[in-house]
Subunit: 370 residues, 2 copies
């Protein structure tokens, strides 16, 4: 399968579509359209507190963005590419600015602690990227590395230490853990106020329930929604299909889409006709962890596709010996969808940006800084 | 609209379909088929620990129960009526037996405390019914009544008192509360081990997440699933639509159906074409709180319909001045569906039976009695 590096450069769905107050024909959207005069307005999405009260993005009669009729499987690319890298950079710049303001006013920087267990190459890469991202925005990070065969007590001790460390505002345990360690038990011990990954069941319960607000929204689903909002894609009233029901992505993504008043269906391994159900969706979140699962004929023409899959595929020609492949067959989907995230460069960078955002929020709460 | 009292007696879908290991033609199913030798187990739902591992109910090639082709809107009744009253009686009898065994072995009976605020007629009826049901199975109940204008502190004090009362194993606050009282705050104070209604966000989070188990399953959704299982209706792999997303019914019902491996879609007020989506479903849970919302043409022929609606409709000819009407237009649905719950006599009695079941479970845990 051809990777998407070049496609990413072809078309960019810009958050500034909305800033301009009207829809830009896709044919005119290039990276160049990204920079315009409207750079004073950076956040397009409502604040977390008002998640349930989205403003109308466009006049009611012009919400046909998702429904443009396109020829299925034509040779032409119909989809605008949602550039997660670029959007994440914008968010990180905002976070850096906030961190500077925080240091200036109260002399404190947010702190993130990462616990890494074992030698998994992909986990090491993810942790390294998170640490670099922290440094770039001024968040102070520390990493505790434990061996593959560490005991549960060792990891619980590390978590407990960070729980009481006032310089640490966020704690994350890089997943997956070796099989002998109980993720749930570790998550239960982690201080709720520092659970920047948002994996605790109390956070999931509060995310699910009306009238309640979670302390944090899990990073990947939060990043996906941010991509939609910044791309001017309306969620309310749309049919959304989430493929996969993991605790980390599929489940919270379905709950979050529902909070934004989408009509959500969750497709999983026991779903008998996943392609039929997915083909009904205006918005598809693919988070099954299966490379190329979602083919072009799974998609309704004009659907918006958020590909959460980051499946490492061995490839000796790549720098680290592997490359990342999404859950969506990109080459096919790009000819059916109206907008799509590439892999890499779509959801991945947003996950890290949301981790930084959650850590900043945690620090603001801890220091009562607004 | 004709009410369903007589229909209830015509056909009964019995949980013994499953016990007998084969499907019973509906024409032969009467109240008499209900009693057999399998009286050792209270609920047919798998235990909480094994929720994800349902046994096959029928051989794979005979799961056509939900898909019997019927003429839509013929004059003929196609649906078997799921007699919740009868099934609930059976469950209550088993609970009574367990309570007797508990008293005999450890000299303790389960205790349920109910807090009733204000003079709502329907709430008073519900509480009265719960108390009677407790008495019938040997659960000791106590009721604290507070005036409409009571303060939040008064209700929190009542809850806290029951939290530390060792004779109380379950606590429920009858909803809805007057507007000036914060349900969430009260729910947060209520001891998790005694939250037999299952409304705490930690319970909802644990219900939602893989690898976790809630202490209790909220009563109404638990009763709905029990009705399906006892009626021999397979859930795994089926398309389920939940209409409504309340914290008490719609949300936990969708999470519970998903735990049983249904493919779940949640329909709500912002869903643009609820009838179209509902018509795709093999199993429909109607929990919108809107009388007669679901018409016959919302249903796929052969669908299974669980009507959670209990909408009080003023009717001076009825004993209490009102009668209950479901969310489903019964007269139409009964000619399209393959199985349906009546209102009253469907889900309602099951909710109370599940409350008793949760209270018994809480007592068993508290006294470490198995």
């Amino acid at each position: 399968m051809m990777m998407v590096g070049n496609l990413m450069r072809r078309r960019v769905v810009s958050w500034q579509q909305k800033a301009l107050g009207q829809r830009i024909p896709f044919s005119t959207m290039t990276q160049n359209t990204y920079k315009d005069d409207h750079d004073c307005q950076i956040l397009m999405s409502p604040s977390l507190v008002s998640l349930d009260h989205l403003p109308d993005l466009w006049p009611p009669d012009s919400t046909d963005f998702q429904f443009r009729s396109t020829k299925s499987h034509s040779n032409e690319q119909t989809a605008a590419v949602i550039n997660g890298q670029l959007i994440a950079e914008e968010i990180r710049a905002r976070i850096a600015s906030e961190v500077r303001r925080m240091k200036e006013f109260i002399g404190k920087a947010p702190g993130l602690a990462v616990i890494l267990v074992g030698q998994r190459r992909d986990s090491q890469t993810y942790v390294r990227n998170k640490i670099i991202a922290c440094e770039e925005v001024g968040i102070v990070s520390k990493v505790t590395e434990l061996p593959d065969d560490c005991t549960e007590d060792e990891i619980l001790t590390a978590v407990s230490g960070f729980n009481v460390d006032p310089s640490v505002n966020g704690i994350l345990v890089q997943l997956p853990l070796p099989r002998h360690l109980d993720v749930g038990k570790i998550s239960d011990v982690l201080s709720l106020e520092k659970d920047v990954d948002g994996f605790h069941p109390l956070i999931i319960g509060n995310l699910a329930m009306r009238g309640r607000e979670p302390l944090f929204i899990p990073c990947t689903p939060k990043g996906c929604i941010e991509l939609l909002i910044r791309s001017g894609i309306e969620i309310m009233g749309k049919k959304a299909v989430v493929i996969g029901r993991s605790n980390i992505v599929g489940l919270p993504a379905s709950l979050l889409l529902q909070r934004h008043h989408a009509t959500v269906s969750v497709v999983h391994v026991f779903t008998k006709d996943p392609e039929y159900i997915t083909r009904e969706a205006d918005i598809v979140f693919a988070a099954a962890g299966v490379p190329n699962l979602v083919r072009g004929n799974w998609l309704k023409p004009g659907a918006v596709v958020i590909d959460v899959g980051t499946n490492p595929i061995e490839d000796p020609s790549c720098e680290h010996g592997y490359r990342l492949m999404g859950d969506v067959c990109y080459d096919e989907a790009v000819r059916v969808a109206s907008a799509i995230t590439p892999v890499p460069g779509g959801v991945g960078p947003m996950t890290i940006a949301m981790l930084l955002s959650n850590t900043l929020d945690a620090a603001k709460r801890a220091y009562n800084f607004t």
